[in-house]
Symmetry: C2
Subunit: 163 residues, 2 copies
DNA sequence: ATTCGTGCAAATCATTTGCATCGTG
DNA sequence: CACGATGCAAATGATTTGCACGAAT
């Protein structure tokens, strides 16, 4: 009821960030057309680490292609997600996109809404407890941290801050 | 910008589930009125472990108080959250409520949308990695598991299932 | 009696969808 | 050329808000 098909098209970027070429070839393989807007939207997500919302991406893409419509951004994001090129995350109700689809975890700043990625090998190699296995077949395991990010903490130090 | 004040009224239920009495006394302490709808809504969340959505709660409360309005449910949920009596979680974009505010983790079934609680002491006592500390001041640390729950897996075993 | 909470209806916000047109393969 | 993609506008779904009345302290 709330699910999404998750059959990632095989990206040949073993080391990290998939580039524009990967988009082209993967779209072709999937029978999807490579349009200007798709390329821009994709590069916009991949070339940032700030986990933008659909609206933020719409604004950014609009600077490059003033005529894009919001729908195209939404539609493209969904197609990129289905293709396994980007991932969607919802923290505290806010939907954000992440161009990094590799396994990693998130820190969410409850003050400014910023999202930061972080790795945690020790966690990744930890065995799940019985209590968790009892729930069902686990496909993914992620950690979500919440707190006040460095930026916010620092701006509070300097006087009243932006609280 | 996306935050919520989080000053939990002090609940005197050291061992677990806060009962109706706690609601009464805590509301009073906070200068809030104890209405019939609030009591019903609260007991509805506390006496279930299925992490209902606002809409589901609305339906359930409606069986007891046919005249409740959806808004009252929404408003009450927000007030209960602000008071620290229930917690709100968003998994894959769906907002759910949890009457258990103690520290625990969640398993989300990507097939049926069910949410299960589980404890993980080993994780709780693990020290955060430097990569995480670098992000900021961590206030909460939760694990989110996604996969296929037991129920779904079993119903698939028996023929076509409900996929 | 006061003041807060409720129900109602309308407003808002994010996201989705139908459709005619446009661009890519 | 043909079919998928785009832009537009309208639809939808979830949640919020303004307001007058009703209930709790």
């Amino acid at each position: 009821m709330i699910m999404k098909k998750q059959q990632r098209a095989d990206i040949s970027a073993p080391n990290g960030v998939p580039g524009r070429h990967d988009l082209r070839q993967a779209c072709r393989a999937a029978g999807l057309k490579v349009t200007h807007q798709r390329e821009i939207i994709f590069s916009e997500i991949v070339n940032t680490t700030d986990h933008p919302s659909a609206e933020m991406l719409f604004e950014r893409v609009r600077e490059k292609i003033p005529s894009v419509s919001r729908d195209t951004v939404y539609r493209t994001l969904s197609m990129l997600e289905d293709a396994g090129f980007v991932s969607r995350l919802t923290l505290r109700g806010a939907t954000r996109f992440d161009g990094d689809v590799s396994a990693h975890h998130h820190f969410f700043c409850t003050q400014c809404g910023a999202v930061y990625d972080f790795d945690w090998r020790e966690f990744d190699s930890l065995a799940l407890p019985e209590t968790a296995k009892a729930c069902g077949d686990v496909a993914s395991s992620r950690v979500v941290l919440e707190g006040i990010c460095r930026c916010c903490a620092e701006s509070e130090d300097n006087g009243a801050g932006n609280a």
